[in-house]
Symmetry: C2
């Protein structure tokens, strides 16, 4: 069979990694794909000199090259990247991308264009780097009604939380190191405020529940307000704090949320440390399954990009309706199940507050919670340090509706005996 010809647009970390893996492992890849896979055209604004490969400074030249079968988009962003992909689709090329923002925000439109053109848009690398989680969700778990999933899907955030726990370091301190090491972006907002994780979670939720991509509906809360004292109290209570993306199907609709989460240390996913990613998926037939690996980096990302290329190469001759559907479900089977507002979700809660060290304060707090049907599952009360009137009071609540809990917090903060704001971290059993 003729070789499959690949065009790569963008020679940053991901583009270079893909070129390297396709070259180094060409024998194994051809043995698996049943035909040779060669990079024939690279688009790189700064130019490049690669033996046997046409290089264009205009990336659109790759999208217009009639020799190219599959275009790898590795320029990032949602502007030019989208224009490039739409052009390549119109030219009948299959697309492989690691661009989570683009898929989460414009995937519905790209998939529709690809359907019209009879080509595919593959994006395994867009979620959890090298972990083949898109394939697991779309194919491996196809027998299941997915009940929920929870993922550590931003490596920088997990690195920061791991260092805070293991070494008692401050958030700002670890963030500076992550930036120096190149884990975090120079503008770390995408990582630590949960936007990157939200992009990935939106994709995972669509795969889980067969709903269209709805990035505007995801609730996002970052880790920048987590203090080392919360990390320590969590540990004392038998929990780790992880920055999780969580999506769950309830009778009312679909929960879709990214936030710091306390989970029992006995959970396998609580032991996923450093920059590693993991996704825990609960299916009604299979039960819990977990997928773990590097969530970023040149070659882990390239591993997923090349897997997509091999998939496409294996099925180039297949008519489009026999391909795996973009979101796992065929378009006519997508559901309009609503995404729930954060106020109506239900979890346990960890509350930390500063309480005056005198009798009766705890009972007032307990009364406020009890009035809203929220019960207390555990309490830590610390001794007052010399010279202070306030002591930390930590409470773990039963599973409660968020709106009720937030109203209770408002009332607690209004108590004269409580100083300042109440810190609130959601608690998940993942059972």
């Amino acid at each position: 069979m003729n070789p499959v010809k690949i065009g790569i647009c963008g020679l940053g970390t991901v583009g270079r990694g893909s070129l390297e893996v396709l070259t180094r492992n060409s024998v194994e890849i051809a043995g698996r794909a049943g035909r040779d896979i060669v990079v024939s055209h690279v688009g790189a604004r700064g130019g490049a000199d690669i033996e046997g490969v046409t290089v264009s400074r205009d990336i659109f030249a790759v999208a217009d090259d009639p020799q190219v079968d599959i275009l790898v988009e590795s320029i990032g962003g949602t502007g030019v990247a989208k224009e490039l992909i739409l052009r390549a689709i119109a030219n009948g090329k299959h697309i492989v991308t690691a661009n989570k923002a683009l898929i989460a925000e414009h995937g519905n439109e790209l998939f529709a264009a690809a359907t019209n053109a009879g080509v595919t848009v593959a994006y395994e690398a867009a979620v959890a780097g090298g972990i083949p989680i898109v394939k697991a969700m779309r194919e491996g778990l196809a027998a299941n009604k997915i009940e929920w999933l929870a993922g550590i899907i931003n490596g920088t955030g997990n690195f920061i939380l791991t260092e805070m726990r293991d070494k008692g370091r401050d958030f700002d301190d670890v963030l500076a190191e992550a930036q120096a090491r190149g884990y975090a972006e120079a503008d770390p907002t995408f990582d630590v405020e949960g936007i990157d994780a939200a992009h990935k979670l939106v994709i995972l939720a669509s795969l889980a529940f067969g709903i269209p991509l709805q990035f505007d509906k995801v609730y996002t809360e970052g880790i920048s307000k987590i203090s080392t004292s919360d990390v320590d109290y969590a540990d004392e209570l038998g929990y780790s704090i992880k920055h999780l993306g969580v999506t769950r199907r309830t009778e009312q609709g679909i929960e879709l949320r990214v936030h710091p989460t306390m989970i029992s240390k006995s959970q396998l996913i609580a032991n996923v440390n450093g920059v590693m990613n993991a996704v825990l998926v609960k299916g009604d037939a299979v039960g819990p399954t977990l997928y773990y690996g590097p969530g970023a980096g040149a070659e882990p990302t390239a591993s997923s990009i090349v897997a997509d290329i091999v998939d496409i190469a294996r099925s180039l001759a297949v008519d489009p309706q026999h391909r795996v559907p973009f979101l796992g479900f065929h378009t006519q089977s997508l559901s309009d199940t609503p995404v729930l507002d954060i106020g109506s979700i239900e979890t346990g809660y960890y509350l930390r507050m500063s309480a005056q060290d005198k009798p009766g304060v705890l009972s007032k707090v307990a009364q406020i919670l009890s009035d809203r049907g929220i019960s207390i599952e555990a309490i830590i009360q610390k001794e007052a340090a010399a010279g202070t009137d306030y002591v930390p009071l930590i409470i773990l609540t039963s599973r409660s509706v968020e709106n009720k809990l937030m109203a209770a917090i408002t009332d607690i903060e209004a108590l004269p005996a409580i100083g300042g704001a109440v810190t609130r971290i959601r608690v998940e059993a993942l059972g």
Copy 2:
């Protein structure tokens, strides 16, 4: 499109689970597959009454039914099951099976027959139950040279070792409970002597390295000789004992072995407890990835069987050469890399012996090891209990070739100051 018609042979745990999942989740499954999937014919020796389904007491009637597109073999064993599958293949049917013994021992022959007939034999359920590990290996990691793989792939064995560690219980005691709970077979040899794990490892090794299935080459050692004292010493040294299947590509060939293994407690896979399974795979591009989930049970196994059915349904119209190859690599790309003898593999070792409580014994043992280039990485020496002359002496060695280590053990056992046999457990870094 017409519905895809399924024949199920055998209505034990796996067959009933598959019927249940196909029925209960028919809407989701059809939404993913793009067409309805219906069970049209069941073969069960004892008969059955299932609405809308033809039931035959002769399972071969299912293999001969021209209506059946895909035959699910869930009778088990390697005799009649093989005959049944070959008949169905000859009749142009695709096969889905959870039968690890059959694939490991006769897969090469079945795949050849399927190739001739232009049909597929799918076996996701044969390895690690509900975990989509076959798909991950054949497709998700297709970009990688696989370096090694280590798996907890027998749930009964892992349950026994977990109970021994967490509750200090004896092997025999826990085994009796596992049998009572239905985890272990009445004849537990397949579980505790590692034969079941060996079947799965042989399949995983072929997927990892593109070698034919070679069940006759796997080294197998069970867990029945693990004592609670070894579990305790391992814990003291920072390790867990797990029953692992390990396969690794070295310059000399391929290691293929199932045995109790000490691994650091900080490894994620060391925290896989109870009846759960996990497979840790190291690819050259992706790095380490881990896949975790239930390794057995009616619905986890059905999850994988139905995933295979959906795969086949999605690609029924595809010509055979565009299907994913049986072992991930196309037949002409399979390699004849030799499988190594256990004597030439290299790991670290845990040694436990009974030594006379007098000066000079340790130095003699150390000398024997040193003479063979084996260095000592850690030692535990215990106080003698009142009234005994012997004390336990525990040694962790550097990575060494097994033949040299075994020769050293022979010499150590010949020392007058050493009582009885030396216990030896392999140690893996999995790094």
